[in-house]
Structures are given as structure tokens and as C-alpha cells.
């Protein structure tokens, strides 16, 4: 027994020794930045002096969510090759994340201390999640006056979304869009329901109701599906419920959740009423991808999860004309949820890598030649006003012109409200409850209370 115990202790010692080795290595790696930084800076200065271009040496890693063609290795490798022509000593390794398991991979990497240097995603993750928890680098030096003014000229909401409440920039944005919905043009035409949509592709709540009725009368079995089986594509159901009676999702300061306002309750109640009388359907077993598939195969007459990129993705697989429209609102002035995507840098304690990462981000987002190319690869719009119409002269120009008309309807980017992760789960659970028969006010009050508690706890 004693021998066994001794052996276990010996084994533990071996493990601890190995762990110790690991710790030492990590310590060395952590201690190294100062020296490396100096070397890198010296190298950069030398290079700058010799060639007039700053090119520090570093190996950096980029993790990217599937944002347009940033999920495509050929595209990203092409960008890196072009980057390396200018900065040959910065080597970029890429890993591709998906929205199903990407967050888990990042969480595991944060806890294991193996985060990438650069990550591409939206402010709800980079700013209000990882940034708020002190894992990201302040990108203030990328946000110089020129960049700030240029991006603010597109929308002040973008600038606000990329910084924390205390003013630290955790994201440098590349592209943006507004999320909208889409209809099956031919089905609407057959039902004589196109008359309810304005020329500028907006419509009122009243006319939306009339269109649903017209579709049902023309024999359309399932007009649309309010999906609530998970958080995927939940911006669509939020925008639908908000816009019906012009509700706000949070207060202006992003400190409280407000869908239990009269307007919010009215919108949610309207949705429940429509599902009860069969004008609309709901499915607590479906997420946005399922609903999009139903739309694409012609089962439904509309989708609540649409944008320019989705149209490009589904263009070849639909046998009808997907016609993008804004969400219906009582006053005919929609407030559309925005999507903002850009880059952040994880604070790995290595100044050389951080510097190299900033150079890489600057190249992808701001380089006169590469910037517009990067934007076009996402299928969205540039955040920099100076890029103008990035799609001018391309085959996408006409399609993107439609979506650019929705830009003035970009609403407040409330996704950066603290407690966002809890809210997302609570939202689809709220929809499941109210469609399942729970009183709308009771369920919404509980939802708001849970979200407010999460927001308070996150601060």
C-alpha cells in the first residue's frame, strides 16, 4: 500500500514537474516580450530606415468566424499573400471558426491561455464579452482622427459599438450591414400582396397584416415562421417584434431592457395573435437556418433573417425571386438591427505580436487597395465612408444598391449591452413561452427582470 502511495506521489511529482516545465516555458514566453519587443522595434526601425516601410518580424494567428468569404481559405490566404508582399516578416496563421462551436473554442482558449492574436467578429463578442472581461487590447492607436471621422461619417453607431462604456476601443471595424427580411416575390404577386409594400421596400404593420391575409386567401399554407428554437439568427425575431409598434429593445444608455414597454408588449401580442389565427406560424424547434431553408425551398413566403450576404448565398438555390424588404412598422419607418464585423486583438502579453497584429488589421481594413477588397469579400458594406460604393462596376452593384437603401434605417446597436449572452437565451425562451400560451406580459416581465439581473451582474 505504501509502495502504491509512494508511486502515486512519484507520478504526481512527475506530472507536477511536467506542469512546472510548462509553467517555466510560459513564464519565459511571458518574460520574453520585453526583449522581443525591443528586437522587433529595432528590426522595424532598421527596415523603416532602409526601405521606408515598417516591417517587424512576428508570427501571429488569426481566428475568424464565417463572415462572408472570410470562411474561405483561398480568399484569406490570398489576402495574407498580398499582405506579405508588403510585410514579409509577419507570418499569419489562420483558423476558421463556425458559429456553432466557435464561442466554445475561444472560451477554452482564453482559459488555457492559447488565444489567437487577432480575431474577427462583431462588437457583441469583442467588446461586450471578451473586452469587458479584460482579455482584449485597446486599439485606440488604430482609431486615429482620420479613421474616427471616416467611420463616424457612415454612422456614429458604429463608433459607439466598437468601444466599451468607459471608452476603450476593443474592435476595429471592417464592414457592416442592416438585417432585413425578404419575401417570395412571385407568391406575393400571385396573392396580389405586393400592393402593401412601398416602393422604397418599407411597409406598415397594418399592411403587413393585410399581406398575410392575402397570402392565406391565395392558398399559401405557411406564410412565415417565427423561429425560436435557439439563438441563431435571433436578430430577425427581435427586429420583427420591435418594429411592429416601434418598441426599443434597451434604453439609450444600454443599461435596461425595455421590451416590456407598451409598444414591446403590443408587438409581441400581435405576433401571438397572428400565430393563433394562422396568419403566421411559429416553430420552437427551428432556428434561422431552418427557417431560411424553408424560405429557400418555397415552403414559406417570407423570411425574417435576411441580408445582402444571405441573398448571395441562396441566389443559386432558389427557384423564385427573393425580394428584400424592411421589417414592417406602425409608422412605416423601420429601425433595422445592424451587423458590424471587424477585428480585435487578444492580450497575450507579447508586444511584438500585438504590434504585428495591428499592422495586419490596418492593412486589411484601411489599405487603399486591400480595404475595399476585404469589404467586398464579406458581402457587406464598408464602415469607412471614404471607400464609397465598394461594389461600383462589379456584378454585385445592382444587388448591393438595394441593400444600401436600408442603411438609413440602421438603429441603435444595443448588442453591446452587458449581459448580452444571457439575454440571447432568454429571448428565444420568451418567444417559446408566449407562443406556448403563457401570458405575454407575465413572460415579458420575467424576461426583462432576468436580463436586467444579468446586466447588473456583468457590471
Amino acid at each position: 500500500m505504501k509502495k502504491a502511495l509512494a508511486l502515486v506521489l512519484a507520478g504526481t511529482t512527475v506530472v507536477c514537474s511536467l506542469a512546472g516545465c510548462g509553467s517555466s516555458a510560459k513564464t519565459e514566453a511571458t518574460a520574453a516580450p520585453a526583449a522581443e519587443t525591443t528586437a522587433a522595434q529595432a528590426a522595424a526601425e532598421t527596415a523603416a530606415g532602409a526601405a521606408g516601410t515598417e516591417s517587424p518580424a512576428a508570427d501571429i494567428t488569426l481566428w475568424t468566424y464565417p463572415i462572408g468569404s472570410f470562411k474561405d481559405a483561398d480568399t484569406v490566404n490570398g489576402f495574407i499573400a498580398s499582405f506579405n508582399e508588403k510585410y514579409p516578416d509577419i507570418h499569419v496563421n489562420v483558423e476558421y471558426l463556425d458559429y456553432t462551436s466557435g464561442d466554445d473554442q475561444v472560451t477554452a482558449a482564453i482559459e488555457a491561455g492559447t488565444t489567437p492574436d487577432v480575431i474577427m467578429e462583431g462588437p457583441e463578442r469583442l467588446v461586450s464579452n471578451w473586452g469587458a472581461k479584460g482579455k482584449m487590447v485597446d486599439l485606440a492607436d488604430l482609431w486615429d482622427d482620420d479613421a474616427s471621422k471616416d467611420i463616424a461619417a457612415t454612422s456614429e453607431a458604429i463608433v459607439a459599438a466598437c468601444k466599451s462604456p468607459d471608452g476603450i476601443y476593443y474592435e476595429y471595424p471592417l464592414c457592416m450591414t442592416t438585417h432585413c427580411m425578404a419575401i417570395n416575390y412571385e407568391l406575393f404577386e400571385k396573392a396580389d400582396a405586393l400592393q402593401y409594400i412601398n416602393e422604397d421596400r418599407t411597409w406598415t404593420t397594418e399592411n403587413f397584416g393585410k399581406a398575410l391575409k392575402a397570402l392565406k386567401d391565395s392558398g399559401v399554407d405557411t406564410t412565415g415562421v417565427v423561429y425560436c428554437g435557439g439563438q441563431g439568427g435571433d436578430q430577425g425575431t427581435r427586429a420583427l417584434a420591435m418594429n411592429l409598434y416601434s418598441a426599443q429593445f434597451t434604453d439609450a444608455d444600454h443599461t435596461k431592457w425595455t421590451m416590456n414597454s407598451d409598444a414591446g408588449l403590443k408587438g409581441l401580442t400581435q405576433l401571438v395573435d397572428w400565430t393563433k389565427d394562422g396568419s403566421l406560424s411559429y416553430d420552437a424547434g427551428a432556428v434561422a437556418s431552418d427557417e431560411l431553408q424553408l424560405f429557400a425551398n418555397g415552403t414559406t413566403a417570407m423570411t425574417f433573417c435576411w441580408n445582402a450576404s444571405n441573398e448571395a448565398n441562396y441566389a443559386s438555390s432558389v427557384a423564385f425571386t427573393p425580394y428584400a424588404v424592411a421589417f414592417p412598422s406602425d409608422d412605416g419607418k423601420p429601425e433595422l438591427c445592424g451587423g458590424i464585423w471587424g477585428f480585435g486583438i487578444f492580450d497575450n502579453g507579447d508586444a511584438a505580436k500585438i504590434d504585428a497584429s495591428k499592422i495586419f488589421i490596418d492593412y486589411l481594413c484601411d489599405d487603399e487597395t486591400q480595404g475595399p477588397v476585404s469589404v467586398k469579400s464579406t458581402g457587406f458594406f464598408p464602415v469607412r465612408a471614404s471607400f464609397g460604393n465598394a461594389y461600383a462596376g462589379t456584378e454585385d452593384e445592382e444587388r448591393m444598391a438595394v441593400y444600401s437603401t436600408f442603411m438609413p434605417y440602421l438603429s441603435d446597436y444595443y448588442n453591446v449591452t452587458a449581459g448580452w449572452a444571457e439575454q440571447r437565451t432568454a429571448w428565444w425562451n420568451l418567444l417559446q413561452q408566449i407562443f406556448g400560451g403563457t401570458d405575454v406580459k407575465t413572460a415579458t416581465d420575467e424576461y426583462v427582470a432576468a436580463c436586467d439581473a444579468a446586466t447588473a451582474a456583468a457590471k
Binding site: 502515486v8 512527475v14 506530472v15 464561442d103 482559459e111 471578451w130 428554437g229 420552437a284 424547434g285 415552403t299
Partner: protein, 303 residues
Amino acid sequence: MLKKNAYTKRSKALVWRETVSAYLFLLPALIFFIGFVIVPMVLCLVTSFFNYTMNDYSFVGFSNYFEMFRDPVFKKAFWNTVVIVVVSVPTVTAFSLWVGSAIYQVNAVSRSFFRCIFYLPVVTGTVAVAVVWKWMFNKYTGLFNYALTHMGVIDNNISWLGDEKFALWCIILILFTTSIGQPIVLYVAALGNVDNSLVEAAEVDGATHLQSFWKIKWPSIMPTTLYILVITTINSFQCYALIQLLTSGGPNHSTDTIMYYIYYQAFKLNRYGYGNAMGVILAIIIAAFSALQFKMAKSGNED
């Protein structure tokens, strides 16, 4: 005397050398066992007493445990997990025994065919299984709704995974199909190893097929049954992937399980300490259930 001591010393040295050799052979496995089982278990237990999040690590004593028992979602998840275990374990075991009994005596080709059929869902990836079932359960284009509406069983399509009345049972059904493969293979092997002379002797003495099964075969395959009970119980308690892929715990938490809720708290909300506290409780429950099964199977065997 001196000679005897020298002999003893030499003997001890030999024993010591052999022991050291044996343990050295075990050392690699031991390192992995300690590193990947013991250390995480200890860390899980320790961190369950901390408010361990992405940016906090403060000692909170038993507050995670107190919170857990006040958490209505945890209670719901616990109840769902119990339902899954209580329904799955007996049905999987009974069905596997029935299929095993039916096919173990047929010819080798047929036996292999049935084993292959029942084992197929086990070797098929969980994601692939989930995708196929999700398609069959689809409210609008699914096979079940198509068949049932055309047979006149239902008037309106049902959202099988989106309806609180059906969702958990759908999960149990899928879990059932992916759980029976291994028990059937084990039962076929165990029944084939039962001493046939005992069965023949009993039948000569006038025992019916049922009597020879319960009095001879059943006790003989009891160790296999015990193993099947334990692994099915553990698998049922750890039901996570199907929930993650099909329902995310919905609708309205009706398919939340403890494992999924641990994942949700740890990976979605970054509350590692709270998740670990739930993990500790789950481990205790599984250990208690397994011990109970061992005890019952042992006493049954002694009878």
C-alpha cells in the same frame, strides 16, 4: 544466520526490482490517468467553491451549491435527466435482452446482419444522426408529419422538437436508438457463452424455455446485465450532444439536462465554478445510482 540475511536481502532486491519494473510499465498510463482524470476531478471539486468566471476567482464556499438548489432551471434539468434515465435504462436493457435472445441462436450470417443493423447508429457520428432525426421531425417537411397526416392520424403538423409535450420523448427515442447497439452485441456474446449443458439438463428435467431462461441463462448473464445497466445509466445521465444539436434545452427548458446546463453555464455564461458545482452533484448522483445497481445486481445474483 548471516547467510539467511544475505538471501533475504537478495530476495527483497529482486522483488523490489520487479515491483519497480511493473510500476514503471504502468507509469505512462498512470500519468495520463492522474493528469486527465484525477487532477481535473480535484480541480472541479475545488473550483466549485469559487466564483470562477473569466475575470473573477473568489472563494464563495457553498454558495454555488445553495444557488443550484434554488435555480428553477437546474431543478427542471435535474427532473428531465431523471426521466431520461428512468425511461431509457430499463427500455434499452429489456429491448437489448429481447433482441439478443432472439438472434443469438440464428445462423452466423443472420446474426452478423442484425448486429450490424443495430450497431450502425452507434458508429454513426452523433451529428449525422441528429441531422437525420431533425429532418424526420421537421414540422413542415418531416417524414413523421408526412406519414401521420397521410394516414389520418393527425390533422395538423406537429413541431416534434418544438412542443413541450413531445420534445423530451423525441430525445429519448433518439437516445434509445443510439444506445441499444452495444448492449445487443454484449448480450449476444454473453448468451452464446452460457453453458448449454446446464440448459439441456434443465430441459431434460422438464423445465420450460422460460424457466430455463430465468433460472439458468439470466443468472449466467447477470455480470453483463450489470455492466449494461451501469453504462446505460451513465450515458443517459450524460445526455448532452443530442440536446445541443437538436433543441438547445428548449422548448421552455423542457429538454434541459444537467449536462447541457453545465455546458450552458460554463461555456455560454463563463460561470465555470457554478458549472463545476453541478458537475460534482452529477458525479455523486451517477456514483450513487451505479452503487445501487451493483448492490441490487449482486443481491439478485446471490439469491
